[in-house]
Symmetry: C2
Subunit: 396 residues, 2 copies
């Protein structure tokens, strides 16, 4: 079980796996909390079937691809075919029957896999089962590209924590607003629309009560089409959220508040929000080492989110909550839009305390720089965590 070393075969494998990844991308806004998976079935270097994961409870990519092959009249060609699939096929009965059984039943000759599935219910057993039936298995083809589409899912499986992507929009001199608070707009509408793509691929858009009170945002996906909306969540220790806030449309909103005995008025507010506004009020303990010693335990919130099948968190918050996440070691990725403006004194992206030594700075790794309209989008991540995920999906 390894990358195939024949150069022509390796080139063909990369070509077809790129197709499978393209298919997985098509379901980027659709499959949560399931991973985004693409599958192409190839016989004699001809594509005979293709598919991608649908909504939860519906077909996995492999089953979609088999059905697609049959619909194209290619059922006989499944025998001896190669399956290219971006994630190890499942071997357990979950919401759907195991995909490896279908692959075996149709007598595939070879299965090429981008990522192993660190889901403890799969954990290499898919590969084992295929090999036990004499099917050749190769793994690790375009693993990085496949992981990029499913960082949150893999992080949740492996670390029991979502992947947190912090979205920031600053001037060239690192400011998110003027000193007087004006921030509309630092970046262009093109960059703001681009930001909605990242909301759409997340499971949950998270902000703080400060941002909610200042901007009264809806925080949903509007600028682009999406078959599903992410859940929106607010960290609001004192439970002061306005019941008339714009965020309470009809879709779910989670509100994290301090775990204490509610007053009668607060109980009534909770009842109203939960029964009339599709909200969920979630009580969390205080952190022992919070930003000001009295912030909610962000690690506890992350645990709660992972248990509730949240893969990717899209954090769109103010400088204080951003700093809280950074100090808690919870910023996995930064999505930074930079406008070609210089504005001078203003609000920082992270409200941190001064460092003593430069070597204490939070060190990330850039992995993308891209013009987005007149602005630039930079992406950086915690490389140690990323590499740990990559290792987990690459090695059995």
């Amino acid at each position: 079980m390894s990358i195939n070393l024949d150069p022509l075969q390796a080139e063909q494998d990369s070509y077809w796996m790129a197709e499978a990844i393209r298919l997985a991308e098509e379901s980027l806004y659709l499959t949560s909390p399931n991973p985004r998976v693409g599958c192409v079935i190839v016989h004699d270097q001809q594509l005979i079937g293709q598919g991608s994961t649908q909504q939860v409870g519906h077909d996995h990519a492999e089953i979609q691809a088999i059905k697609n092959a049959i619909a194209r009249g290619n059922e006989a060609a499944l025998k001896g075919a190669t399956f290219y699939v971006t994630l190890e096929p499942c071997s357990h009965h979950g919401r759907t029957p195991p995909c490896v059984d279908a692959i075996i039943r149709h007598q595939a000759a070879r299965v090429v896999i981008a990522m192993l599935d660190p889901n403890p219910l799969v954990g290499g057993r898919g590969v084992d089962k295929l090999q036990a039936e004499g099917i050749e298995v190769n793994t690790g083809v375009l693993a990085e590209e496949a992981l990029e589409l499913n960082t949150g899912f893999i992080a949740r499986m492996l670390n029991k924590r979502p992947w947190v992507r912090t979205k920031l929009a600053s001037s060239m001199d690192g400011k998110v607003a003027l000193a007087n608070g004006e921030s509309k707009w630092i970046t262009s509408s093109t960059a703001r629309d681009d930001g909605q793509h990242w909301r759409a691929r997340s499971c949950l858009v998270l902000t703080g009560i400060g941002t909610l009170q200042a901007d009264n945002p809806l925080l949903n996906v509007r600028a682009i089409e999406t078959p599903r909306q992410p859940i929106r969540a607010v960290i609001d220790r004192l439970f002061v959220i306005d019941v008339a806030a714009t965020i309470f449309n009809e879709d779910p909103v989670w509100v994290f508040v301090e775990d204490r005995v509610f007053t009668a008025q607060e109980l009534e507010k909770q009842r109203f929000l939960e029964q009339e506004k599709n909200a969920r009020i979630i009580k969390m303990p205080l952190a022992l080492d919070g930003v000001d010693g009295q912030a909610l335990d962000l690690h506890g919130i992350m645990d709660y989110l992972a248990i509730n099948e949240i893969n990717e968190v899209h954090l769109e918050a103010g400088p204080r909550l951003n700093a809280g996440f950074l100090n808690a070691g919870l910023v996995d990725e930064v999505l930074l839009y930079i406008a070609p403006k210089i504005i001078g004194p203003g609000r920082e992206v992270f409200a941190l305390s001064p460092l003593e030594k430069l070597s204490d700075a939070k060190q990330m790794v850039f992995f993308e720089q891209q013009a987005v309209g007149v602005d630039v989008r930079l992406r950086a991540r915690d490389d140690k965590r990323w590499q740990a995920l990559l290792t987990a999906v690459s090695e059995k």
Copy 2:
């Protein structure tokens, strides 16, 4: 006189002009204060000669290319050939004889020009002279690429001012140093070496006395090979520069000081620096509206530099002098290296006063984003000024 509209011809013209630009790039560190110019001579779609501008006083690109053609045994083919040249050929006797005469003498059929020369001694007269001899002339082919190599020269010709490129190195949150001043190093050695390329192509590296006293830099080009060193200059109103500063190696250093009567001690310091240290002490008036009401007149310094044939200024300064240039409207281009670090409170790239309105922010335009080692290099410029230069070299 215009871009040729025949599509095949236009494609061929772009191809050969790109070659001429590549040649011009080869003399990027060499030709100042002359522009960097490349020339290829083509006959029947075969390259028969090529050249680029050499040091001041030596051959221009066209002459180099003609000599090259002759050396290759292609003298006869010069008759009827097409010259591709990145800048309008000169028609005046400067340090060398006019290039148009040589082109006419060898009976070229066509001359394709990237940029017209806004030098008042040329000013379209090169084109006129060629056309008067029945030579077809096309202009504006890859004008933007050619201008990029000679922004400083064109700015000086047109505006009687150098082009000021401000080099900055910051963290992702826009800081050039910790609050305690530690700044070694925000960016990687790869980015710092890349920065030396921009020093090398400039005519003058400029800094402030604050940076000089804090870092005692040499400010020359070391990380890359260069046939010539830029002049180094320091803005030092109070003439407090240490005569033992590292910057005084053997190469020229210009020191801008306040225009006032020197003390005997200062006169002796001036004599010593000028006679023993290859320095030039230049007295400048104070600005009426300087950063603190008592800064040197930066516009006056720019005038001085233009008169002294400085095309590109590479500004490598601290937050205060950077702000002084920005406030004086003298930042034409920003070269910003961003490190994938978050450091929190620290020193700003520009020490500016707060803005009242976001619409008052200095607005630039990004034109490049590029990974440089682990860092990212962003380039932004004053688009209005750039477009004015582009218009000047494109329209007669």
